[in-house]
Amino acid sequence: MLELKNISFEVDDELGQKGILKDVNLTIDAGKLTVITGPNGGGKSTLARIIAGVEKPTSGKIFYKGEDITDMSITDRARMGIGFAFQQPVKFKGIRVVDLIRLAKGEKTLSSKDACKYLAAVGLCAKDYINREVNGSLSGGELKRIEIATLIAKRSDLSVFDEPEAGIDLWSFQNLIEVFESMRKHIEGSSIMIISHQERILRIADEIVMVKDGIIAEKGTCDEILPKLSGTDSAVKSCGIVDLWKEGNN
């Protein structure tokens, strides 16, 4: 479905050119859930942004459904079926939750009832949110869940999520995993790419790709890779809820 060939991305810093991604080759097959992990600053987010078209690679080619999309705009990629959920959801002035969902669905109008089901899927009580503005009055976690709801509504063939769990509270973690699982089930042949350090998300991956220092350091199935990553910052266990009283609060 998606093929990255010799992708490099360089930025200018005070020491001259700095390579964020170095000659990366990666294939994402149809119907697969791929999790990209690795330490912070390793190039994971850049990879996702290059796929969505938000950043242009310094060199290399990107093929999607067999077509060279390297020079294609964000809009054209979105229309070809690539969806992208931002790590830091964008805030607006005046644009409401219902507007974003309507635009994601690509429709001129959207009934409240229709919009509500996407919010319900991310654990938000729809009637409280549907007409709210997507601005700073919403918490980071709420914005994040709305961001995910727009991607569900978009029904992309390839959905790329940049750290979807960041800011999402523990209660909804399982919910988030269910979101990914039901997207796979209901959008036939669709692929999902998630950037995450969370062990619980790594566990549902068909393939885990470890990006470190701008290269693909390791890649394989969940069973192959996860044991090597456990306990490192590439596979962080989420903090469980501790029953303070049971464990003795002396």
Binding site: S73, T75, A78, F84, F86, F92, K93, G94, L103, G106
Partner: protein, 307 residues
């Protein structure tokens, strides 16, 4: 009441009117009243000395509305119209004004509406005013509204003033005086394009204890248009005043925002905010990842901003 198709279109734009309104109304077209209706509680009386009307609303009138739209479709027509609203104690009404000019000719058309509101104790008014211009002629469409609001104790006035399209030149002057416990909320939405110019001046005096004034403007200046927002809120008693101007500039648009505060009483709490900038790049990017073109994304962002 006979209106041309163009006049009907303009009426729909400025007052959402598609047929004769319910309740009290006065429809003015090309300098003449073409339809008028008073009700048991709301009386509309033409002025004798100058052009305009007196609107008298009886104390205690609830859930009634007054529509007073103005349409100009004759190129070169210039008029000043004086409308006075007397809102009786404890009344709660909706007033819909609005002016649309369709100018297909080469001469300037101009409507200067001078509206004065005398709002008695504990009365509530919602005032909606939309300005709109259309027509392909080279003659300008000019609107210079003057609004004066005199608010008695405990009264509330909520004003929604909208000018989104087609008005070439506007100087809007709004003046308000608030007694104790009076509350004035102004929401202005303005978009200029082409070579248009829009100037908005507010002078609000909060004279009584517990008075509240909140003047909020959202504006977009496109192409080579020019806008000025001057708001002076003076707190002359223990009160609260806030003014805000939030603007988007595009192309070669220019905006000057001056939200000024004057505290004449040590217990006056006054705040102001002003922000001017282009559309944030990340907002465009986000909407483009949903499949919108850059231009479509811009339109959605502006429509949302001016909603």
């Amino acid at each position: 009441m006979e209106l041309t198709d163009i006049q009907k279109k303009v009426l729909a734009e400025v007052a959402d009117l598609h047929k004769t309104p319910v309740g009290a109304f006065n429809i003015r077209a090309n300098g003449e009243s073409v339809g008028r209706n008073s009700t048991a509680n709301i009386e509309i009386i033409p002025k004798k000395d100058v052009s305009g009307i007196d609107i008298r609303i009886k104390p205690g009138t609830k859930n009634e509305s007054v529509h007073i739209p103005v349409v100009i479709s004759q190129s070169g027509l210039k008029e000043s119209v004086y409308n006075d609203f007397y809102i009786g104690e404890g009344a709660d009404v909706l007033i819909v004004a609005g002016c649309g000019i369709d100018n297909c000719g080469s001469q300037d058309s101009q409507h200067d509406g001078i509206h004065r509101f005398f709002i008695e104790k504990n009365a509530r008014v919602k005032y909606v005013e939309k300005h709109y211009g259309s027509g392909e002629g080279s003659g300008k469409r000019i609107l210079n509204p003057v609004t004066e609001v005199y608010m008695d104790e405990g009264s509330t006035c909520e004003m929604e003033m909208v000018q989104i399209k087609g008005v070439d030149d506007t100087v809007r002057t709004t003046k308000a005086e608030l007694k104790a416990g009076a509350k004035l909320l102004v929401g202005e939405r303005l978009m200029t394009h082409g070579d248009q110019r829009a100037i908005s001046n507010y002078n609000v005096d909060i004279n009584g204890e517990g008075g509240v004034a909140d003047v909020v403007s959202r504006a977009v200046a496109r192409d080579r248009s020019y806008q000025e927002f001057n708001a002076v809120i003076a707190g002359n008693a223990p009160c609260r005043g806030h003014s805000e101007c939030d603007s988007i500039i595009m192309d070669e648009g220019i905006i000057l925002a001056v939200p000024a505060l004057k505290a004449n009483n040590v217990d006056a709490e006054m705040f102001h905010e002003a922000a001017i900038g282009k559309i944030a790049g990340e907002q465009l990017t986000k909407l483009m990842t949903l499949g919108l073109t850059e231009q479509e994304a811009e339109e959605e962002i502006i429509n949302g901003f001016l909603r």
